[in-house]
């Protein structure tokens, strides 16, 4: 029974832990006294990191400029809100489309590069955009960002409230939809082709896979999702600042993804949880030196848990299952 269809069906089957994961995120909404604005941020960062995972985790492309797409989405939503287009969902589509177009171009540009050249070009493109936004004060508000962004009600019913209830559920719903798309993609033949090219490009070329085109496509999709994440941030906090596309953000999202674990889709969300909670806590503890701990965390993670949280837990989980003697087939790519 090892037909291709059966194989893909097996890949796509939902595991219990996955369902638990999303139910927990919904359940958090009902916990009294929970910090909903922080949770919304976590969801948005998680979605952003997941989009990077498509490039870095599934294709092995080390980009240092992913915040550019996040920023494009954020500013698109900001402009729309500022100039009267207050309907949020259509704004998400537009943000995704524009970010995807830019992503397609960027992917075309860098797809033959590797190593330090790839790193420098993505970093350079990000910096050019950041510098442009910072300098064109009349167009973008420069350092202050866009003021007077108005966002209408979601589906014409739910107003963005002060406690961030609408913001959380809205972000969660959008992130879940994006996750479904990403999940379908990476468990399709396209996802397999990406993984194949990550491991061995010459071999994939020999097999006749359009390796270059796949990179462009992956860039476009990842950019669209990053753009959606950026637009979500604009809509939930009703303002945009150039921070949205700073190098710092590109570095942070990389840290989040590595922390959580690559090529798992869930890694970004788990990493965002740990990173943002830690950052929030450390910044409260000491507003000046908290970056020391972030740096130390990075060094420790890279040195000892290079795989990240989710894969490490996955290994632990399968080991526990084996001990209990269940002879379930060891999953190809860990439990989650």
């Amino acid at each position: 029974m090892n037909t291709p269809t059966a194989y893909f069906e097996g890949l796509a089957r939902w595991k219990p832990l996955e369902i638990v994961f999303w139910l927990v995120l919904v359940g958090l909404f009902f916990v009294p006294g929970v910090n909903l604005p922080l949770l919304s941020q976590i969801i948005i960062w998680g979605l952003f990191a997941m989009s990077l995972d498509l490039l870095l985790g599934y294709r092995g492309i080390l980009t240092m400029g992913h915040a550019a797409f996040f920023g494009i989405g954020a500013y698109t939503a900001g402009y729309l809100g500022k100039f009267g287009w207050t309907e949020p969902i259509s704004a998400l589509f537009l943000a995704a489309a524009i970010a995807a177009a830019v992503g397609l171009l960027a992917g075309r540009l860098v797809r033959s590069l590797g190593g330090i050249a790839l790193l420098m070009v993505t970093l350079g493109l990000n910096l050019i955009l950041y510098d442009f936004v910072l300098r064109s004060t009349e167009l973008t508000g420069g350092d202050d960002g866009l003021q007077g962004v108005v966002i209408g009600q979601v589906l014409g019913m739910f107003k963005f409230d002060l406690y961030g209830k609408t913001a959380y559920l809205y972000s969660l719903a959008v992130a879940f939809l994006m996750f479904l798309i990403a999940r379908a993609l990476v468990k399709s033949s396209f996802g397999l082709a990406l993984l194949g090219a990550r491991e061995n490009i010459p071999r994939m070329i020999m097999l006749g896979a359009p390796v270059g085109k796949d990179v462009s496509a992956a860039f476009a999709i990842a950019a669209a999702m990053a753009g959606v994440a950026g637009a979500l941030l604009t809509q939930t906090i009703q303002s945009v600042s150039p921070d949205a596309l700073s190098f710092q953000r590109s570095a942070d999202v990389l840290v989040i993804l590595i922390l959580g674990g690559t090529a798992r889709l869930y890694g970004g969300f788990v990493g965002a949880f740990v990173f943002l909670f830690l950052r929030d806590w450390l910044a409260q503890l000491n507003p000046v030196y908290w970056y020391f701990w972030i740096g130390l965390l990075l060094v420790v993670v890279v040195a000892f848990f290079r795989k990240g949280i989710v894969p490490s837990l996955g290994v632990l989980f399968t080991r526990m299952q084996k001990k209990r003697g269940t002879d379930e087939r060891t999953p190809n790519r860990a439990a989650l």
Partner: protein
């Protein structure tokens, strides 16, 4: 005419600083393929060594420079032995994250000890003010930079091309495994090179504090510049780094002077274009 000359001169003196800060990284990257972003933290450390030595202990400026070189060199070799050498075989991403983590830590540590403000640097009398030279009025400190930079570049090229140790370093850059098989102690050669590169970064930092300003964000401000020099010049080439650093210095000063509206990203555009056309850098060779 004189504005062109002064821009050239300012650009060159700026480029000299960039060269000193980044040449060590270029050589170690060419040799071990190790992406050490913490190089800029070494520079910052050198700057603080200079400031503390001058202000707390009254060491004359000229003596603080070798002090910065030696102290930072020692720090870098300690880090290399304790930490970096375990990451030589790993991928770019691991190295980038490891060393950027160190950069974050260094920023926090420096803030803890010396606060987050810019450090005042008091140059000795003979290095301040201006000097007429061949019809041009030039800043004395920049003349000093160009002279020292020229000397260092000469020493480095001479050391690498004409000395025994230089030949070993070149052998390691070209093919580490073959060099190892010929009986060279590549581990030791690399450690020494790393220390010299780190020391040079410290020296560059000490020399730049007066001109570029010294505060805890120094590494993040100049990280991109150092990376541009290394990647455009081509890893493992001193000549390439020198050309790239001088060009970058001149381009940055000229861009900010002539096109203040786009000045900043002129150099980024050049970088992107060069990297797209020559992914290995101007003088880079395929290993």
């Amino acid at each position: 005419m004189s504005s062109v000359a002064s821009i050239l001169f300012n650009g060159i003196s700026y480029g000299v600083l960039l060269f000193i800060m980044s040449v060590g990284l270029s050589v170690t990257m060419g040799m071990m393929n190790f992406v050490n972003l913490a190089q800029v933290s070494f520079s910052m450390l050198g700057g603080y060594v200079m400031v503390v030595a001058m202000q707390k202990f009254g060491v004359p400026f000229l003596w603080t420079l070798p002090l910065a070189f030696i102290l930072v060199g020692v720090v870098s070799i300690v880090l290399e032995r304790l930490l970096f050498r375990f990451f030589y075989g790993t991928d770019d991403l691991t190295q980038v994250l490891l060393t950027i983590g160190l950069v974050f830590m260094s920023i926090a540590i420096v803030t803890y000890f010396w606060g987050g403000t810019y450090q005042r640097v008091n140059m000795p009398e003979w290095l301040t003010g201006q000097q007429e030279l061949g019809g041009f009025i030039l800043e004395r400190y920049r003349i000093f930079l160009v002279v020292v930079g020229g000397l260092l570049a000469f020493l480095l090229v001479f050391g690498l091309e004409r000395t025994n140790f230089g030949a070993m370093v070149r052998a390691c850059v070209d093919n580490r495994r073959a060099a190892n098989a010929c009986g060279l102690n590549t581990d030791l050669i690399f450690a020494v090179t790393f220390a010299v590169g780190g020391g040079l970064a410290g020296l560059g930092g000490a020399m730049s504090a007066n001109l570029l300003g010294l505060d805890p964000n120094f590494p993040l401000r100049y990280l991109v510049y150092v990376l541009i020099v290394v990647s455009i010049g081509g890893m493992g080439t001193i000549g390439g780094s020198l050309i790239a650093a001088l060009a970058l210095g001149i381009a940055d000063v000229a861009g900010k002077y002539y096109f203040p509206s786009i000045g900043g990203f002129f150099i980024y555009i050049v970088t992107v274009v060069v990297m797209l056309c020559r992914p290995l850098g101007l003088l880079g060779r395929r290993a």
